[in-house]
Subunit: 665 residues, 3 copies
């Protein structure tokens, strides 16, 4: 079933793989079992509605057991079998985990940590992004894979590497870092200026003096550390691009992806997403976490925003993972509920790591779609139900979009800059602050996009900035213009403190932003201790407080009470620009954002939603998801059809524990 020819230079997309279906399946690593068992896998896959599997992620040693050898026979047979069975193949380049011989023959392919310790083979991801040797061998196996399978009829997507997340402090990496810095700064003077090397006698007189930020006696230069994070993201992106360009040469019509980790600090996923045909992500909320569903929603919103449309859930777990301190299984129904949540928030592919649970190796206690209990196990039985239901709703939802009036700004560079070891409070964790703000919106039944601070924000009625410690001039000007043009902006503390080099703005916070929010002098930051609460007008503030003066016509909506900051602004409003100098406790942040949203004309998809029910509109479908273990009745005015059951629903719908409905008018 060859795809129709595409016009030149138009990139293929997820729709080319889904073709009206929701992709359902997972990583399939059958090299762990005797080939005789493969047909049984196929049988179970078909029973479960699996239509897509990811193959080859960790197959390098199998494909190239000795340098330069190639063993494709098993993969030929596997792809043929899958093709015959109508199961599409997402074919991975196996470059995340080189075979032992590579490290042994070429120790320069092994990464080194900041203490100078080598990361050996025996686990996975033991490759140096900066090693020419690694890149050479990775390109060679990729080339051969692409040449052999680029036109295979089973092939629906390319998956490059896996969860890019490594770093390197070797001398090789230092050399590449210097090249990267030359590109960025041109001259040593520019670098010395950007890094502020006049402090602590760090002025560089020769490029060769620069290395990655290795172990030091005391705090390291923050701009150097920041650039090292940028460099690391860029080196990994170079590795990705190199393989992507190879597979594209052989199969220009096949979309390419690589799987992000959820809210992962290591790579600038905004930038990466632009280099992918399909944006995909791995998602592993803790089933015991009462806010697991919100974490899922956050990652899904972020991924959808990066994809600017439908995206792929590359990995989730049918049951427990095996890398937490205590790893909990999913209670009955939760796998289905969270799978539907992903679709509600834009996923057109719902996949798992992995198809069949391993019996050996480091992840044998990580669940699979088929667990150790086999086809009689509850886990597989639930998987079968999910497969059937996704197939049922797919025609109505695939390819459709979500339109939101609300955006949350997020940027990796700001995250990186704000995380320096010499910051004012180790209690302030960017990801936690971001999560707290998203939670407030999620609990208000408001669905938001994520956006980069330099994105065009004009289509949003309201924009929130949980925390953007470092902002470029362009971003700041854009925020000011956004409010001037009628947008509502709500910002948390530690926003606009530094520029792109991590240079503190005069006054301790950018003057344009201070004017925007009606902030006069910023005298001192008053970070709070862990667990400490500061009284504000009717609520408690956490994490942070500030000794600031209001300026101009700004209104002090809530003031600190008692203590050293008595009367100073905790919440400040200057027209449509709001500033929070503390993190209100969850219930108050929720009420505050819901109130501001209502004023800005941003509304939930349905009125009168019970707290435990998540409601999301995607295209014409309304997803209702009950995150509680008790059933609940939701008022839904008018008549709808539930796509999951085919039932007609009038004025209200009852959802079982972990129940869901997908309603269409």
């Amino acid at each position: 079933m060859p795809l129709p020819p595409l016009p030149p230079r138009v990139r293929p997309a997820l729709a080319d793989a889904t073709r009206g279906r929701i992709l359902f399946g997972g990583d399939y690593n059958p090299e762990q079992w005797p080939e005789e068992t493969w047909p049984d896998d196929i049988r179970l896959m078909r029973e479960a509605g699996v239509n897509s599997v990811t193959v080859g992620v960790f197959s390098w040693a199998k494909l190239e057991p000795r340098p330069g050898e190639r063993q494709f026979g098993w993969l030929d047979r596997l792809l043929e079998l899958l093709h015959e069975s109508g199961i599409g193949v997402v074919l991975a380049t196996p470059t995340a985990s080189p075979p032992p011989w590579l490290g042994r023959l070429h120790p320069d392919t092994l990464p080194v940590d900041e203490d100078g310790r080598t990361e050996w083979w025996g686990g996975r991801q033991h490759f140096s992004h900066s090693s020419d040797t690694y890149r050479h061998h990775a390109a060679a196996i990729t080339e051969d894979l692409a040449a052999r399978y680029g036109s295979h009829p089973a092939l629906t997507m390319w998956h490059i590497n896996n969860e890019y997340c490594t770093y390197d402090h070797s001398d090789r990496a230092a050399a590449r870092f210097r090249d990267w810095l030359k590109q960025r700064y041109g001259t040593l003077d520019a670098l010395n200026t950007a890094w502020g090397t006049a402090f602590w006698s760090q002025g560089y007189g020769d490029w060769a003096e620069i290395h990655t930020p290795r172990r030091a006696h005391y705090l390291r230069n923050p701009s150097q550390v920041l650039d090292f994070k940028r460099f690391t993201s860029d080196m990994l992106l170079e590795c990705y691009r190199a393989e992507r360009d190879i597979v594209r040469r052989y199969s220009p019509h096949i979309p390419v992806t690589t799987n992000f980790m959820p809210l992962w600090e290591g790579v600038d996923a905004w930038r990466w997403a632009d280099e992918e045909d399909v944006v995909s992500v791995d998602l592993y909320p803790d089933p015991r976490d009462p806010l697991g569903a919100q974490h899922g929603a956050l990652v899904q919103d972020l991924t959808r925003s990066q994809a600017r449309g439908p995206w792929m859930l590359m990995e989730q777990a049918a049951g427990p993972v095996n890398w937490r301190g205590v790893n909990h299984p999913k209670p009955r129904g939760l796998n289905r509920l969270w799978s539907l949540q992903a679709v509600a928030r834009g996923a057109d592919a719902v996949c798992y790591f992995q198809w069949r649970q391993s019996r050996q190796g480091a992840e044998k206690f990580h669940s699979g779609m088929v667990g150790h209990a086999g086809e009689e196990g509850r886990t597989y039985r639930e998987v079968r139900r999910i497969g059937a239901e996704l197939a049922r709703i797919a025609p109505e939802v695939t390819g459709t979009h979500t339109v939101n009036d609300l955006a949350i700004l997020h940027d990796w560079h700001s995250w990186w800059a704000g995380a320096h070891e010499g910051r004012l409070s180790g209690e302030v964790d960017y990801a936690q602050v971001l999560t707290a703000w998203h939670r407030a919106l999620w609990e208000s039944h408001l669905t938001a996009d994520f956006a980069h601070p330099e994105h065009d924000l004009t289509r949003y009625r309201m924009v929130v900035v949980p925390q953007l410690y470092a902002l470029t001039d362009t971003a700041i000007d854009s925020l000011v213009a956004y409010v001037r043009r009628g947008g509502t902006l709500v910002s948390g503390f530690l926003t606009g403190i530094a520029d792109q080099d991590d240079r503190v703005r005069p006054g301790g916070m950018d003057a344009r932003l201070r004017e925007l929010f009606g902030i006069g002098t910023l005298h001192e930051w008053w970070p709070l201790e862990a667990g400490e609460s500061i009284r504000c007008g009717g609520f408690g503030g956490t994490l942070w407080s500030e000794e600031i003066e209001s300026a101009g016509d700004a209104e002090v909506v809530a003031a600190y009470e008692g203590g050293e900051l008595d009367g100073l602004p905790a919440v400040l409003r200057n027209g449509r620009a709001w500033y929070l100098s503390t993190l209100p406790e969850p219930s108050h942040l929720r009420e505050l954002l819901a109130r501001i949203a209502a004023q800005a004309g941003v509304r939930p998809p349905l009125d009168g939603l019970p707290p435990q029910v998540e409601a999301v509109r995607r295209g014409e479908a309304l997803f209702l998801l009950n995150h509680a273990r008790e059933s609940v009745t939701v008022p839904v005015p008018g008549t709808h059809h539930d796509l999951l059951t085919g039932a007609k629903v009038t004025d209200e719908v009852t959802l079982d524990r972990y129940g869901a409905a997908v309603l269409k008018p």
Copy 2:
């Protein structure tokens, strides 16, 4: 007093050293003091009834101050003095702590950790078990010691090295590891299969690619880690054997031992015990631990089971140790009580580290039989009493055995396999689970042997399996046969999950065991958080729970209540086979095991024992030990003599705080 000639090929035993006495004494390191003080040591030893000292454990630098030199004069004089004084000598090979010159001249003798960091001299145990150079020098000094003192009349036992516990990740160790693996697996294919290297692209194409499990980016291969632990135990055993064989050549009539650490993860002591003439152990319960006595009982039971008869307490502390966070002394009477406990549980030798407390060095705050306070100190005064009492009871107890109807199964390989970093719950600690089960029996006044899962169990009425994550087919078949032949078996969770390669059994738990216990499908494991308790029928379960179905005629003795597992079996009984899918809180586990034991005909040595009194029969003697700080009266039907006091005891005996009686009919 030369020993009578032994028949050839019969190994000497502990009885050859005790000759009807209980050995009493400790490590004696007089090289720390001027030789003029030795006579004073001898005087105090004689006053305290010391009849055995261990000499030379850390004397290598003294014996061989420069490579190849020998300084035996001081040791000649010391052994002569001891011999004249009637004090027997356990002579140690000094190979646990090489002199500084060895590391300096031969850096290859120094071990390297998994991060590549060298362990330098300046402490102790800085030797690489894999270094030929180390082994060569260790053999040479052992040979010379054996040649010189092998026929010395003071010599009663050889003590090889000390507390074998090191590891090594050097290139040397990697080479030996490869040799060991070749022995075990024969072919690379067999190794790749056993280790499951198909996962994560770890297939080995050349033996030279294999190293020890060094620092990696992420989880390491569990079978490789398991084999490394086996290898480490075996390498240390090779070192032990090499020295043992040397001393045997010179003194075939002298028994040989090496001292185990208590419940130490590092060496497979079942296997080691078979290579010793005398099994000895070091034992250091925390005097502040309310369960210190139970920990002692556990280690004593384990050591007695390894020895299959009387054993040697090589090291205990007369007062505090110095390696805990806070090191507590022994309250008045506790040293005596715990010494008698060791005898009750089979010890024929009660010794200390060390005779006289050091004034210098890293252990100068570790107590001695003679402390810093000298002969006026309470510690020495209590030691003197213990020496006198042991001499008094020795004729009635030495050489006698304990016969038990109950066995606890324990295996190091299963411990190792179950401890992988990628397991489901980091809260599950094998040693703690084992201790919890032993405690339940101990508090029920039931004395148990330990046994290896492949041992012959037919002589036991009841066998308990606290947790045996990995079991061989042989062991499983043996357990099934044991129940079939009428034995009562009680097993905790996480038993029979994996085979000897750490390969998960189909179904997540061995099918034979599931049938034995009446378990149907095992859907999911539900590990519990630290401190979490799950309601079962009348008690709380901790650490773990399971989503299992019962099968066949199995009776659900206790079911989970509420939550996701409502109604599923917490305690399952299938005839004489019992399965616990959680760890009941201590009081309930105690009641449950006592009830099952009673049904199986296993009874405490005495009825009506107060909870704080431990009662153990050894031979004809009944030891009664009061672990409380209050006196207690124990009903003892009939008339006995207390061997400690010579008093006649009728129908009851009163024990002071920390008091004891050794009764004989």
Copy 3:
């Protein structure tokens, strides 16, 4: 304004720099800003009364951007500008932070930690004190600086390096360690004896076998670790002396200092102080710590005692620092209060790190006298007030002394010896014990000097020893003689346990001290768990308890109640010698020491002081400092003038929150 010629061989002193003023200013690192901004700095300095700045601390890379180059132009201009503005210059040698080229061209200048890990440049203090190359380059830049500026009229003081605090385990350091040991011990025999190497087979047969105490398998030799700490302090002192002697050659009339860190374990500041013309210290109490002021008082008392007169507060923070977990600013008034406290306790110089807060680099969130908020910020406005007030009171206080009747004994060698990893309790922290005792005196309004245990103590009515684990014979004899001559001595536990080699004294505590305090046999130490309290006569004891007998006529002032130590002495008095075998809870330690002090004739400077008011006499001035956030009225009999306000004060004075008065009759 050249200084008057000094008589030969008389060293210059702080008075030569103050000339009747209190030095006020801070570290000035203008190389971080364009030269055009310097005049603005000068304007703000003059407004704030700044009369002294420290220049060049981190300027090495600026002065010598490439090996051997010199760029003095900017420094010439800076010193000229400062001189013109009447601001004196404390000129620093820049040797604490070598330029990147030094590490790159000479890796032997980089320090290595005990795990063998290099400390790279990119932070600061990345120099090996043992590197000849480092010392050579440091001397060269020092020489050129001294030659160029030694006669500069702006120069008022030399500041050598900065916060000496490094260590080194490289092979270079090992070689120097051996040389140092040869100096100390002469022969290997003497070293082996001092280190007790007979234990654990550590006997050295060749000097070349000795290295620094690197990573080992288990506990390291405590005497080796102790000597390594001594060596480290001495190596750093060698570095200091080398630079000091260079600058002295060029400017013999200019006093020399280096800044200590507060109560820092790393250098023996008693010994260092004797090598300085001016003793200076950095001081950073946590503004949120309720005992921050007491910590300040302790460090100030210690520094004054080292200086034997006026001293220099080289660094404090006008607001937050940036190296705590959470860094708090100073509330309004606290900077002024703590600055006056330093003057009260002997400072004639009150300076800050740093003048202007950095916008870049690792310390951009460390406050400055001019913060990010600039001259409108509260921080700078308060600095201006402090400058004015210090100028007002200076004529009456500079150069004056404090006379105390009370001394606290403190010694670094004892601290080091007592901190070994093999000690009895990890809960006993010397600095915390010292702080607890100082707090008891501080809360009793008693001001104490610190003294070394071998100092002449005759001028004190009372001496307290919080804890001196290791004492020389000389020190012990001195303490005994002190009491015999009529002095009152109060000692805490763990005093006199070991000698200077960390050899435990016979009996576990020196016999002379036991006799002095009326202690008989010391049976056992009973350390307490964290948070544990032991009942004594009417109070709770913490951290420690002891099984000791009283002897002779000693009076058991308080006895343990219940438990194993029932009736044994918690507080023991033998005439004027007191011994505490536990650490009483704070209120009781305060009452006890106040009572003993009163008996010894030691009194607070004023009767009836409210608890929150600190009162210190310096010369004729009486400083009253209110550490509370509420105002308070203090009875002050008679009539005084408040030097801060010029107001007349009769019989009482009211202090605002954080308020102060400096009264003169």
